[in-house]
């Protein structure tokens, strides 16, 4: 039980590496940096393997329960005084623990995150050898491992969110790793902010669940959700699921929040492989799968997930058809494959979705690392128009990438075949064919996937060389530290699919069986519950041997080969200045696809406000400018206006005081006394002669008066 009880050590191992780099990285040599950072991830991987091993033993003895380990209480909010009871009638418990949970679902993520993570760390030793900021890179990578493992191992939504935001941060830091490049830091900001939009939805979904069901903890929520006290289609649960899915759309790059992922390719290639292909972007899938007990209660939300997934799959694939940057093709391919995963989740085939996550982790990581190896060989050239004929020059890269391409194209018996086929089959058959329209979309996407992937292969490896002369001389196969991870990943791209060998091909689908304790009661029958669902699942199992399934399998293989064939015809002999077949047949369509359906431009006009729509600026910037104008002119203007009015009134009072009160009244009276005093002074002069004169005049006056009366 040592490993299970100390499961919290797993995320802390890379955290230690990150801390070391933060404090001492500058002073460490490159080999010391690699030793600590890569070494700690290797230890984490071994630890994880042992933990999962121990878990399988433990689970067998414990009725396949999830294993939980609470380390300490992180946040607590006691609501007892509010007398708050939840919908389900149980007292709310809002204690958020730093708690860990291991069940088959997290075990799968744990294994491939640490496993693929380890390989990519090893690969990075070679890839980043000549880059500045070596310690910074590995510090961020280790920080990413820490947060991703927290995400995967958390036993409640808040812990998941901690990891969720954390991986977002690392993604931001690593996309902007070349921070001198404006495009890189733009892409980093874009990634973080678009993710934040999703995060806001996630937060709200989390709150909805918590206040409705009274807990953040997965086990408690699942227990309530499966207790039968909630009815299917419960509007609050539907809302919660939709909000959670907004979060998933952000993190896992689904329409309409996918825009950040293609730009994320500005980061170093190992980052694209680890974070933007294999692990972080699947966090949304993990979260939805983790919430499966809730989602099955919300058919409308499920439908939304399925539709968004399918739309994303074909939409991103359509853009991928014509891109020239090798990493961008892969980026759109990732978006598209993530769409597949959500399609699977949406139709209720949780295990199939997770299986595709699992296989995709290997072959997509391999594709990115292979692309990195190509870029490395070509002195940082990423434009496929300047590649070609590399097949013999970098043979290991070529061979491993070919395996990955076959896997993603869905060609038997490579890993992608099994997972993609399972998804398509489920889309066809789920809910008695209610989703069949989505199958067509998925099927068309499968064809497009094969086409753009082989387009990439032909343009890179098989077509005549269009490599610039200067670069041609330096082409070299990558060092061992880079090729060995490629080989290991190739091995898994070939064989990982066997874990999910379907019943229809006389397999046992061990993968699905392993996940059964997590998804058991859901299967695909989300509108039924309990026994009925189990019966239906059993019936479906029989249906699996349905001739339709074989037919569909052959059809999708046909699509894959058709895509391959078309790519070979179009690009097999692509010499300098070759033309794109789509550009030749339908130039407007090509322009739209090449410009990515102008979505970025539209967003810039409408949402960010980076571009002006005529004279007006809309979006966030527009709102900001408007708010500032209001603030400066209106709100503060009011304040200053009040100040001005006060001062004007004060001036008026001063004037009044000076001229009326003091002037007219006070001084006026004072001044008026002077002339008045003249009058009185006239009789009070003190000059005796004057008195005599006045007296004489007076007497004279009186005399005259009396005489002439």
């Amino acid at each position: 039980m040592f490993f299970l009880n100390h499961i919290w050590i797993i995320p802390l191992l890379p955290a230690l590496g990150a801390a070391l780099m933060f404090f001492f990285g500058r002073k460490l040599s490159k080999s010391a940096v690699s030793f600590f950072c890569v070494g700690l991830v290797v230890v984490a991987f071994v630890f994880s393997c042992l933990t999962v091993l121990q878990y399988t033993g433990w689970a067998a003895a414990h009725n396949h329960q999830p294993f939980e380990k609470i380390v300490y209480t992180w946040l607590g909010s006691d609501t007892s005084n509010l007398g708050y009871l939840t919908h389900s009638g149980r007292a709310a418990d809002f204690h958020v623990d730093a708690g860990f949970l291991l069940d088959p679902l997290s075990a799968i993520w744990l294994l491939f995150v640490t496993g693929v993570g380890m390989l990519i760390h090893i690969y990075s030793i070679g890839y980043m050898a000549h880059e500045g900021g070596y310690y910074r890179f590995f510090g961020y990578m280790n920080l990413f491992m820490f947060t991703m493992l927290t995400l995967v191992l958390g036993n409640n939504y808040v812990m998941l969110f901690v990891g969720w935001e954390g991986v977002g941060l690392c993604s931001y830091l690593l996309i902007g790793f070349y921070f001198l490049k404006k495009s890189a830091t733009n892409a980093a900001n874009k990634a973080f902010i678009v993710n934040r939009i999703g995060d806001a939805g996630f937060l709200l979904g989390m709150f909805t669940i918590a206040w409705y069901l009274g807990s953040f903890r997965f086990t408690q929520i699942t227990e309530v959700a499966r207790s039968g006290r909630l009815s299917t289609g419960d509007p609050t649960i539907t809302l919660a699921c939709l909000l959670l899915f907004v979060g998933a759309c952000g993190k896992s790059a689904q329409v309409p929040l996918y825009v950040w992922l293609p730009d994320a390719m500005e980061g170093p290639t190992p980052v694209s492989a680890l974070i933007h292909a294999a692990t972080m972007v699947t966090a949304g899938v993990y979260m939805v799968a983790r919430s499966n007990a809730l989602f099955v209660l919300a058919p409308e939300a499920m439908k939304t997930v399925a539709i968004i997934g399918a739309v994303t799959a074909i939409f991103a694939a359509s853009i991928g058809l014509v891109q020239n940057d090798i990493k961008r093709v892969l980026a759109y391919s990732t978006v598209s494959q993530l769409g597949y995963m959500f399609l699977a989740l949406g139709v209720g085939a949780f295990a199939a979705g997770v299986f595709h996550v699992f296989t995709h982790a290997f072959f997509k990581a391999l594709l990115f690392l292979g692309a990195g190896s190509v870029i490395h060989a070509l002195s940082s050239e990423q434009d496929m128009r300047h590649m070609g004929a590399l097949v013999h020059k970098i043979p290991t890269t070529f061979k491993t990438m070919l395996i990955a391409t076959l896997a993603i194209a869905g060609i038997f018996p490579f890993a992608g075949f099994f997972s993609k086929d399972e998804i398509l089959w489920q889309a066809w058959s789920a809910d008695n064919g209610a989703y069949r329209a989505l199958w067509y979309i998925g099927y068309a996407t499968a064809f497009m996937t094969a086409f753009y992937m082989f387009r990439l292969m032909y343009l890179t490896f098989w077509s005549p060389s269009r490599v610039e002369h200067e670069v041609e001389h330096h082409i070299h196969e990558s060092p061992k530290s880079m090729t060995i991870p490629l080989i290991v990943l190739a091995f898994f791209s070939l064989f990982a699919g066997f874990l999910g060998w379907p019943h229809s091909l006389k397999g046992s689908n061990r993968f699905e069986k392993f996940l059964e304790p997590v998804f058991a009661r859901e299967a695909t029958q989300f509108d039924k519950s309990g026994k009925e669902a189990q019966l239906a699942a059993a019936k479906k199992e029989e249906e699996h041997a349905n001739p339709t399934e074989y037919f569909l399998m052959i059809l999708s293989l046909g699509a894959a080969f058709a895509g391959w064939g078309l790519a070979k015809r179009s690009y097999g002999k692509a010499a300098e200045g070759y033309t794109e077949p789509i550009a030749a047949t339908a130039p407007p369509a090509y322009r739209v696809l090449y410009n990515k359906w102008y979505v970025d431009e539209a967003y810039d006009y409408l949402f960010t406000g980076r571009r002006k729509l005529g004279p007006v600026r809309l979006g966030a910037m527009g709102a900001g400018e408007a708010a500032w104008a209001v603030d400066a002119n209106f709100v503060d203007g009011g304040v200053n206006g009040a100040g001005w009015t006060t001062r004007a009134l004060a001036k008026l009072s001063v004037w009044w005081d000076t001229w009326i009160i003091d002037g007219l009244l006070v001084n006026g009276i004072a001044y008026s006394t002077r002339p008045l005093s003249w009058l009185t002074r006239m009789i009070q002069w003190g000059l005796v002669q004057w008195y005599a004169l006045v007296m004489v005049a007076g007497i004279l006056g009186f005399v005259l008066y009396y005489i002439f009366r």
């Binding site: 995060d199 937060l203 009011g638």
Partner: protein, 497 residues
């Protein structure tokens, strides 16, 4: 010790200031002495959380002596889990303010530190007073040193800003004073608990209580500041010297939110409940509006000031959500904002010392010449963005969850704040630190000095500690918040019945 500790914590800085007045005019001596005094204050204040009974909800470390018999004024100090942390926040930030002003203040140095120490006493006094007269005394007393710090040591338009700050706050406070006097006239006491009892016994009519509520509210709303009374803040921040900004954002604004919680909720729960909707509306406007204005600010310091408007909106929202989570979060957000925005102002000040400008367009590519500085800025920025495992997240999370519980639409609107804060901070960071250095003046900027590091490390550590182990703070906050909310909860139950 326990009875005298609050008096000590409150008046040690003032004693230091008085002593300093008799000092010879030697700048270095003033600096060191101020540092020692503020550090002593911090160490003394640590006594509070270390000896605080966490589970208890009432006031602790109380001291109650009659000061003036007529009117009946008491020297009554005491802290609960809310005010205790605000005291510690004040004493924590003060030594950092001294450090950050070490070089940037070079004229009338002694006076500056005297003002700073007087300000510290006034701020602590506000949080520990349990007598309304005393509270008002400290409240107004804080105004004078702050206005002088802005007016004497600020930038170009410092007098305008100082006057604006002073008048704004004064006008608000007058109404509070009226309310306090009125309450005294009716209850015969300035004591918080006595007035609270009187309110609960229904001694004051509803209408009259409402007027008192509004009087207090206006004073606090100016201080917080709540939209649309916020425009003094960007000016005051912009003009204030760094230490002034740190204390202004870190502590002074919290006087407002603390007042809302202690008085508006504590004394007038019914009125608060009645009037919560429009106050929350203003808070949410503040959250979004502050962020939007921050986003387009060409000026770094005003940007941080407007971000305060946004962050303080969260605090007000949390307080008036009347949920345990919401108010817990509000208090936590006060502390977190104090640490991270205080640090942001220090960082901005450090830049100003080197380049004498706050214009974002003057910078660019600073990560190259100043990597350590850039790292600190990144950590603090992320804590301000509300990244989990840093302090900002805890408060924001709890506030949002409480607001959501109170009314879903509050939570939904406020949650957009999560997006906005990322927008303006990341974009700012990009413009200041990323890219190539495009100005010669920036290419040779020295990275932060040892002294600046010493000032910044505590904030970074606090940001991480408060994010990783929030319960260390929350378990003292929770009982106090529960005590504040219990009349409201009873009312809610009454409504249900």
């Amino acid at each position: 010790m326990s009875a005298a500790i609050l008096t000590l914590v409150t008046f040690v800085p003032l004693a230091g200031a008085l002593l300093m007045m008799f000092f010879p005019r030697r700048d270095e001596l003033a600096r060191w002495f101020a540092l020692v005094v503020t550090l002593l204050g911090f160490v003394l204040s640590l006594h509070l959380p270390l000896h605080f009974t966490r589970a208890a909800s009432g006031f602790q470390f109380e001291i109650n002596i009659q000061w003036i018999s007529s009117p009946n004024i008491h020297y009554h100090l005491g802290v609960d889990g809310i005010s205790m942390w605000l005291v510690v926040l004040t004493t924590f930030l003060s030594p950092l303010c001294v450090l950050i002003s070490w070089k940037s203040v070079h004229e009338r140095v002694k006076e500056f530190f005297i003002l700073l120490l007087i300000l510290e006493t006034a701020l602590i006094g506000v949080f520990v007073s349990l007598d309304l007269f005393l509270f008002y005394f400290f409240w107004e007393a804080s105004l004078i040193p702050m206005a002088l710090i802005i007016g004497m040591y600020g930038h170009e338009r410092r007098v305008y800003a100082a006057v604006k700050f002073f008048l704004f706050t004064m006008i608000g406070s007058v109404f509070m004073l009226a309310a306090i006097i009125w309450l005294y006239a009716r209850t015969g006491s300035f004591e918080y608990t006595a007035i609270q009892r009187a309110m609960q016994s229904g001694q004051i009519g509803w209408e009259a209580a409402l007027w008192c509520f509004l009087g207090f509210f206006l004073a606090f709303a100016v201080k917080v500041p709540i939209f649309p009374l916020h425009t003094w803040l960007p000016d005051a921040h912009f003009e204030a010297p760094t230490a002034g900004s740190v204390l202004l954002a870190g502590v002074l604004l919290k006087m407002g939110t603390y007042g809302l919680l202690r008085f508006n909720l504590g004394l007038f729960p019914e009125q608060a409940r009645e009037h919560a909707p429009w106050i929350i509306t203003l808070a949410i406007i503040g959250i979004i509006y502050g962020a939007l204005v921050a986003m387009v600010q060409p000026n770094l310091k005003k940007l941080v000031a407007y971000s305060s408007v946004s962050h303080l909106g969260f605090v007000v929202l949390g307080i008036f959500s009347f949920t345990q989570a919401g108010v817990d979060g509000a208090v936590y957000q006060m502390l977190a904002h104090g640490v991270s925005t205080g640090a942001l102002f220090m960082l901005v000040g450090i830049l100003y010392e080197r380049r004498h400008t706050f214009e974002i367009s003057e910078f660019g590519g600073l990560a190259t010449p100043m990597p350590v500085y850039a790292t600190f800025f990144m950590i603090i920025m992320l804590s301000s963005v509300g990244l989990p495992l840093l302090n900002g997240f805890v408060g924001e999370f709890l506030v949002l969850s409480g607001a959501f519980q109170a009314k879903a639409v509050y939570g939904i609107l406020a949650a957009t704040g999560v997006i906005w804060s990322a927008c303006y901070l990341l974009w700012t960071y990009q413009r200041v630190f990323f890219g190539k250095v495009n100005r010669d003046a920036n290419a040779v900027l020295p990275d932060i000095s040892a002294r600046e590091r010493i000032a910044l490390w505590p904030t970074a550590l606090a940001a991480v500690a408060m994010g990783v182990a929030p319960l260390l703070w929350l378990n003292a906050i929770e009982p106090a918040v529960r005590a504040v909310l219990s009349p409201l909860a009873q009312m809610a139950e009454g409504l249900v019945r």
